[in-house]
Symmetry: D2
Subunit: 134 residues, 4 copies
Amino acid sequence: MVHTKMLDAYPKDLGQIDKQKLAECIAACFECAQACTACADACLAEDMVAELTTCIRTNLDCSDICVATGNMLSRRTGYDADVTRAFLEACAAACEACGDECESHGSMHAHCRICAEACRRCEEACRDLLASLG
Amino acid sequence: MVHTKMLDAYPKDLGQIDKQKLAECIAACFECAQACTACADACLAEDMVAELTTCIRTNLDCSDICVATGNMLSRRTGYDADVTRAFLEACAAACEACGDECESHGSMHAHCRICAEACRRCEEACRDLLASLG
Amino acid sequence: MVHTKMLDAYPKDLGQIDKQKLAECIAACFECAQACTACADACLAEDMVAELTTCIRTNLDCSDICVATGNMLSRRTGYDADVTRAFLEACAAACEACGDECESHGSMHAHCRICAEACRRCEEACRDLLASLG
Amino acid sequence: MVHTKMLDAYPKDLGQIDKQKLAECIAACFECAQACTACADACLAEDMVAELTTCIRTNLDCSDICVATGNMLSRRTGYDADVTRAFLEACAAACEACGDECESHGSMHAHCRICAEACRRCEEACRDLLASLG
């Protein structure tokens, strides 16, 4: 995977961070960003779109923070633990909200079910990385 | 200003949020995002770029979270207080880190001085809005 | 305005670009990005959201490309005329599509009317800057 | 892969688009976005960062347009062929510029070599999808 190769190619020491958890979190953020963008759009294509407006909004927030967090985690120069934690908390909160919302109508919409799974993976990856930061 | 007009044009009730503080925070987020992108680039153009790499990285994180937060705040449908708070905390943390970093060499670089001011305004706007959320 | 101050603070020569048109285009991109994000969300809050799904999608594309273009234009180091032109063409195309779409129901929705104006300004700013690039 | 599952779960007809090429292009955009963000940061960590400023700038442009294009392609509602083409042209141009720049010092920096490959894949995926649009 390219993101793992890029971590291996970083020219300085990566510091005390858990490289495996970091790589998983980067991958989960970009996967979840794409899933949430696609889920918002699939909701727009449903006949019952009027009942899915909260889901769409939650998807859009989640997609935005996942890209921001995936980018931040991909940067290792000038590491700041406080900023890292705050992004991870925000990303986990958005993924939790979006996962809950999508799951609540996952039985009706396959895109919500798939998106909820991506949100759960990303939330877990954020929380695992947070826990490892000490 | 367009962002204020858009809040006024929102077709449903905006809820209990302080509209003035919300509008100021949206404006500050987009202003800070642009300033941070430009400051990272201006740092790249300095002869002493090797001493500005932490500043560049901090700028990039701050720009990303400011866009994500400005977008999130611009959405009023399906409001989620927990997600809102987590984004605002992350944005304030990134603005604080970037403001501190830019300020530390603001006497040498006008772009860092201007960017530090934008970061301070955005951090304050985020914290003011956070405080008003109760 | 901060974006103008940042251009003035750029430590090297800005090259042959028309600084006034550049500054206007950067401002228009970030203004339009915010307006499109807010318009997508206001459409979600309309009772007739099912008739506004194309508008929402067009808004989201336009917001994304406006941020990307506003960021790209804010960078002056390592200028590439071909890349600059291609972004501006894409941004103008998205603004034209979104302006047309929003205008078509501007008489019913104030947010679409305001957003259409922001799209027209941004499209014009992109085309003016494109023309000045020679 | 989640992006392919999301295309399969889209509730309406995807239209005449080549689903395989579309899926490859979405994946390539998000992969390239991450690689470019990481490469910009790895360049910042090189002792010779002063010689890599054009590379960093090109990486940042490429990352931004790849996210915008990956998001746009993930949306299938209200499809607009002209907007799609303009984004793909801009993304291909940025990937070509970044691929050329990174390749030019790929022998010295593994992160540039890996990033150049991601840019080539994404440029090719954009051009293949463009060609298939007719």
